[in-house]
Structures are given as structure tokens and as C-alpha cells.
Amino acid sequence: MFKTFKKGGVHPPENKISAEKKIETLQIPAVVTIPISQHLGAPAGVIVKKGDKVKTGQIIAKSSGYISANIHSSVSGTILKIDETLDSTGYKKLAIAITVEGDEWETTIDRSTDLKKEIKYSSDEIIKKIEESGVVGLGGATFPSHVKISIPKGKKADILIINGVECEPYLTSDHRLMLEKADEMLIGIQIIMKALDVKRAVIGIENNKPDAIEHLTKVSKNYQGIEICPLKVKYPQGGEKQLIKAIINREVPSGKLPIDVGTVVHNVGTVFAVYEAVQKNKPLIERVVTITGKSVKNPSNYWVRIGTPISALIEAAGGLPEDTGKIINGGPMMGKTVTSTEVPVTKGTSGILLVPQQESERGEIQNCIRCAKCVFVCPMGLEPYLLMPYAEKQLWDEAEKSKILDCIECGSCSYTCPSFRPLLDYIRLGKSNVGKIIRSRNK
């Protein structure tokens, strides 16, 4: 019996069609566009100007606030312009465009591929190095990692949980990383364990990746304190609250963080970036991105420099399929639709999914038939059939009392509803309004 979280969850078809493809390196494009806000928290402050020459790995925007992150150039070349540009959120945000000239790296970066096992730095030094390299959560939430590892006074972690679950259908970047860079990842885990001062780490992996489970179980024997925990395939197994419940059976209370139950969760991609940051002085300038979809000619996984337009990825995978109806940044359950193929790959882009026309349309909305499926699948124990009318009728008090803010926006409710009701859309509306009310109440 594989461990899993008990409450709710759905099982969308996995479609991991790119799982067998080794990660290749995508050719560097002619121009990269690097947004200054690729993370949760305050956008970084630009420190270069038009015409400046930059090297690969050079810092171009500085973190501005407690929850913020540095941004580095992913290429070497000349700053073309610093302008409001369309990005994958659908809005125009400030971004630094760089014309690529060669690929000259900062001299402080160690570009060798040999494994550096010894961790020479103290806990504080590790956190400083992670902060300098602009590493953020690569699972998609992009929370600045150095903030997550800086435990507030009075709280303590006793276990580190690593998210190798990749529960979204189609995405395989974490899977390939676990197979191809296992040693580096495990050293990265030990680095974070040292920074947090914990003796135990568990990597959760869904059992639709038996090769990754087998490989990591073998390799982790050489590393002190790291275990592998195979998990049942259920969405959203990768949600941090569900993952913590499944692996160590602790429930993060409503409104609180994982540190309040003694743990910290990191994605496998983040952990690899931490290894490169601490052992090789390499800032976060590239990541693994899956390009996939039913009609895509060559669904594959690539190392992509941050700022590459997604059109480059689509070309490399065989071009945009004729029948494309939707382009999604991320997976089908939580990804964001993209309005143009010129938007850049950012730190939070784990995959680009091309959806055929016939699967792109939503069904016609019908009355709620009170079948209670949304209640049965909600992993947070909420009642979407009530939250939607609360948001529709603007009953914000009732919505707050029904714990609408606990929603993790996984999409299981909308996925299941047989009447095609846009439950999550209204819940998001409710969350934003209730959030506003609470913030103005606390002022």
C-alpha cells in the first residue's frame, strides 16, 4: 500500500509522453527577455541600463525587500531595452531584453561538471549564497528559497521534505532531473539539511515513476539521512500540505505554514539549483522545461536559459501543431493560458503544454445538481458548491466563514463537476475579495 493523503483528490489521465526523453540543451536564442518579477514578493530593482554589456550569470536586478530575489542575466550580450513587455501572466510587466553575443560566463562560476560532495560552508553562509544566486521555488510557486530556509525565531524544523511528486499530467521535467542529476540533487538536499540543522530528509515520488524511485533509492544509500518515500498517484499529491500529510502524517493548520508543523518542503528542481548555487557559484539562469502536448511532434525536455521565448521551445519540438487551441504555461490542472508565443520562459515555467482545439473548449454550464462530487474531491475539505454562489452573490462574510482562503486552487472541483460549473473561477474571485477585506480590517 502506498502512502497518500486521505481527503479528496482526483486522478486525471497522466499523459507523461515525454518521460523517456533525455534532457537536451536548447540553443540560446537571439534575444532573451527577463522579467524583473519572476518570484513571489517584491519585484527586483533593475541595476543595469540600456547599452550595458553583461556576462552570463551577472546580476542585473537586485532583490528589494525581505521577500524578494535577485535576477541574473542568463546570456552574455548587450542590454537592448528595459520596457513593459507581455509575459505569461497576460499582463505587460517590466522586463530586461538582452541581445545575445556569444556565451561568456562570469569568471566566479565553476563550469566543471565534476561532483563536489564536501559542504564547506556554515548554515548562515549557505543561506547567503542561496540568496545571492536568486534561487526560488522551481515547482511553480517561485517563493524565494533563502526566505524559506531562514527559520523565524522560536520555530524549529525536524525534517526536510523534498517534492519529487510532479502530480500534474504531462510534465516530466522533475522526473528527468531525478534520473539524470540524482547525485547533485542529493548533495543539494544535504546542503539544505545543514542550513536548517535537520538530520532527516524524505523525498516523495509518485509511483508512476518507478525508474526514478529505483534509481534514487540506490543512489541515496551513499548519502546520510535521506530516505525515499513512494506515493500513490493522486492529484494534488504535490501540494505541500497534502505531501506533508502523506509522508509524515502532520496536518498544517488553516492559515499556518509547514514550519509550524516542523518541516520545510522544497521541489527537486530547487534542490538542484541550490547545489549549483552553493557548490559552483552558479546563479539561477537556466532550468528544465518540458514541451509537450497530444499533437506535438517531439514532446521533450530541455535545459532552457531564462528569458528564452517559448516559440523557440515550440520550434525545437517540431513546430506549433495545426490544431492548437490553447497554449499553457504549466500543467493542465493549474497552468496559466498564454496569449502569445513570444512570452519568455521564467523561473516558474516547468512546462509548456499545447492543447488541441477539441480539448480546449469548456462545456456548457448547467444547474448544480448537488451531486456532492466537488465536496468529495476537495483535498482541503471545502464545499465548492457553496463557495461559488457565495462569490456570485458577494456574500463575503459567509465565504470567509466557510474557509474560502484555505483553497489551494488545485482545480479538482472544476475538473470533476458534471455540470461544467466554473467553481474555481468563482472561488478565486471570492478569495481575492475576502483577502482584500481582511487586509483592510487589519490596517
Binding site: K7, V10, P12, P13, G90, P169, K241, K245, R250, E251, P253, S254, K256, V261, L320, T324, G325, K326, G330, P332, M333, M334, G335, K336, T337, V338, T339, V355, Q357, E359, S360, E361, R362, G363, Q366, N367, C368, I369, R370, C371, A372, K373, V375, F376, P379, G381, L382, E383, K403, D406, G411, S414, Y415, T416, P418, S419, F420, P422, L424, R428
Partner: protein, 331 residues
């Protein structure tokens, strides 16, 4: 490249739809339909066709001409109401009475509240109870199975097993004295008894019920709690005095218990929204059924029990909420 769709997540959907669920229920009703045709022949055919057609036609007319919207009959729920209403009446019921029943079930119990998803009471049961109270004699003359297959209004009638027990106990006879007049448990299971079209054959309903459970159209909570509470409550009475109170298996196999447990009480719109709520709901129906059957005036209580618990459902939904994640803190 043609225009791109833009919409918020999620971007894929389970293949469920209202239509699929409704057609699943219709398929699950086929065994009971076939057996009712086998036992009651001509009468069953006429009543089923009339009921389904009039329910569909009334819903079509009301949605198209009264509401001025697109007709909703294609989602299958009117067909199900028609079938279930037919399954709740005797096979010699005159056609005009069934049409009135359809009008009440669709027009009053469903459409006045706003259509699918908005009714507080099970429409087929409202139709049936309305007919029972308005036309008590035609609604309580029960054709005997197999003997009336080619007759309709002139079918040979007799008492149902529940009726025999009720009258007999009232007249002072003991259960053991009555047992010669009641069909055996095996006959009750297969359907060799008087009763309404759909309720007689437990085996046919079980097959349909299993189909519904496998297809995940219903969950186990309501059938188990309803049948379980009937067994326990009637079992307690039977153990106390087996001469006055008949055994639990008899209660489960007669009347509308099986049909009610799998097809009527499990109606989404009128049943609770949580597992715990459904269990409470099922127990309520079971206890009320036995109370009405044993201590009340009617020989059969399932329809009333379900309608009463339909009224309690909003209360159950208000106070029995799903356990929120993070409320039980374990370290």
C-alpha cells in the same frame, strides 16, 4: 494559427457529465423494467410508456413555452422521473391518472422550483404520494403478478404481502398464522408478489444498484444506512416479539425499500452533501419506514419516509460539514 482559447485553470475535465450520469441511471433501471414487463405485461408497458412520455412532454412544454428557454429534456432527468413514477404505481392504473401524476411530478415538484437541481423534494415520490392521497382506491388495488399479463384495467388484483401482514395483525392474527398467506423469502427476492411495477423484484434492483455503485453514480452511504437501519430497527422489534412483528428480511424485500434505497433516496438533488450526512439521512429513512409500517396507518412507509427526510436534508447540510483539512492537528 487560428485564435487561441484563453481561460483560467483547470484546463482538462473528467469525462463526467449530467447526461452520462442520468443515462447510467436509466440503464440501471432496465433489469427492473424487464422484470416488471415479465410479471405485469400489458399494464406495465402502457403505464411506463405513458409516464415517461408525459413527463418528457410536460418538461419540454414548460421549459420551452413557460420559461422560454432551451428545453432541458435531453439531459435525461425527465425520463428518469417518468420511469420512477411508473415504478411506484400499480399496473392497472388508468392512463389519465398517470398523466396527472406526471404533471404533478414534473410541473409542481420540479419546475415550480426552477428545474433540475432546485427541487427540495423527490419529484417522482411527490407525484406518487399526490396520486395515493387523491385517488386512494385505484392506487391501492394491486394486480397479482403473472396472472394479469395480458389484461390492463381488468387485471386480477390481490393484497400485497405488506397489506396481508398489516390487516392480519390488525385483526389479531399472529405472524406464524399469516405465514401461509405470505410468499416465501425467495419469491419476495425474485419478485413473485403483488406490488407496484418496480418495487417487486429485489434481485433486479440489486443488479441495477451494483451497476450504479461500480460506475460511481451513487456511493454506498445511503443504501447501506437505509437498509441497515431497517434491518436493525425491525430486527429489534422482531426479537422482542416475533409473533407481532415480522422478520427484518421480509421488511427489506417488500414494498419500496430496495427501489427506494438505490434509486429514490439516492437522488442527488434531495439528499445530503457529505458522507456522514448521507448516513444520518439513510438511518432516518429506515427508522421512519418501520415506524409507519408497524405503528402507522399505511402498510407501506418508504415514500413518506423519504419525503420527510428530503425536508430534513437542508438542515443536515447546514450542520454536518466535511472535516476541513488542518482541523485535526497531529504531531
Amino acid at each position: 494559427m487560428s485564435n487561441l482559447f484563453i481561460s483560467p485553470s483547470p484546463h482538462n475535465y473528467s469525462n463526467d457529465s449530467v447526461k452520462k450520469m442520468m443515462y447510467g441511471v436509466i440503464i440501471a433501471l432496465i433489469p427492473a423494467l424487464l422484470l416488471s414487463l415479465y410479471f405485469f405485461g400489458l399494464g406495465a408497458l402502457i403505464i411506463t410508456i405513458t409516464s415517461v412520455l408525459s413527463c418528457v412532454i410536460f418538461e419540454y412544454l414548460i421549459t420551452k413555452f413557460l420559461f422560454k428557454q432551451k428545453s432541458s429534456v435531453m439531459d435525461g432527468s425527465a425520463v428518469i422521473t417518468g420511469l420512477l413514477l411508473a415504478f411506484n404505481v400499480p399496473s392497472n392504473l388508468p392512463v389519465w391518472i398517470i398523466i396527472i401524476g406526471s404533471l404533478v411530478a414534473i410541473g409542481v415538484a420540479k419546475m415550480t422550483f426552477g428545474g433540475l437541481g432546485k427541487n427540495p423534494f423527490n419529484p417522482a415520490l411527490v407525484g406518487r404520494v399526490f396520486l395515493l392521497i387523491s385517488f386512494p382506491v385505484p392506487m391501492t388495488s394491486w394486480p397479482l403478478p403473472l396472472e394479469s399479463r395480458f389484461k390492463y384495467l381488468d387485471a386480477i388484483t390481490g393484497a400485497t404481502p405488506l397489506g396481508i401482514v398489516k390487516e392480519g395483525v390488525k385483526a389479531g392474527e399472529t405472524i406464524s398464522q399469516l405465514s401461509s398467506q405470505i410468499p416465501s423469502h425467495m419469491d419476495l427476492f425474485l419478485g413473485q408478489m403483488g406490488g407496484s411495477l418496480g418495487e417487486i423484484s429485489a434481485v433486479a434492483i440489486l443488479i441495477g444498484g451494483a451497476f450504479l455503485l461500480i460506475r460511481k453514480i451513487i456511493t454506498w452511504h445511503i443504501p447501506v444506512s437505509m437498509i441497515g437501519s431497517i434491518i436493525i430497527f425491525s430486527g429489534i422489534l422482531w426479537l422482542v416479539n416475533p409473533d407481532l412483528y415480522i422478520d427484518p428480511l421480509f421488511h427489506v424485500l417488500t414494498g419500496g425499500v430496495m427501489l427506494g434505497a438505490f434509486f429514490m433516496a439516492t437522488d442527488y438533488v434531495t439528499s445530503p452533501m457529505t458522507g456522514k450526512g448521507m448516513l444520518l439521512y439513510g438511518c432516518g429513512i429506515g427508522i421512519l419506514t418501520i415506524l409507519i409500517r408497524v405503528f402507522g396507518a399505511y402498510p407501506e412507509g418508504v415514500s413518506f419516509a423519504i419525503l420527510i427526510m428530503n425536508a430534513v436534508t437542508p438542515l443536515i447540510n447546514k450542520y454536518i460539514r466535511p472535516g476541513k483539512f488542518g482541523e485535526t492537528i497531529k504531531k
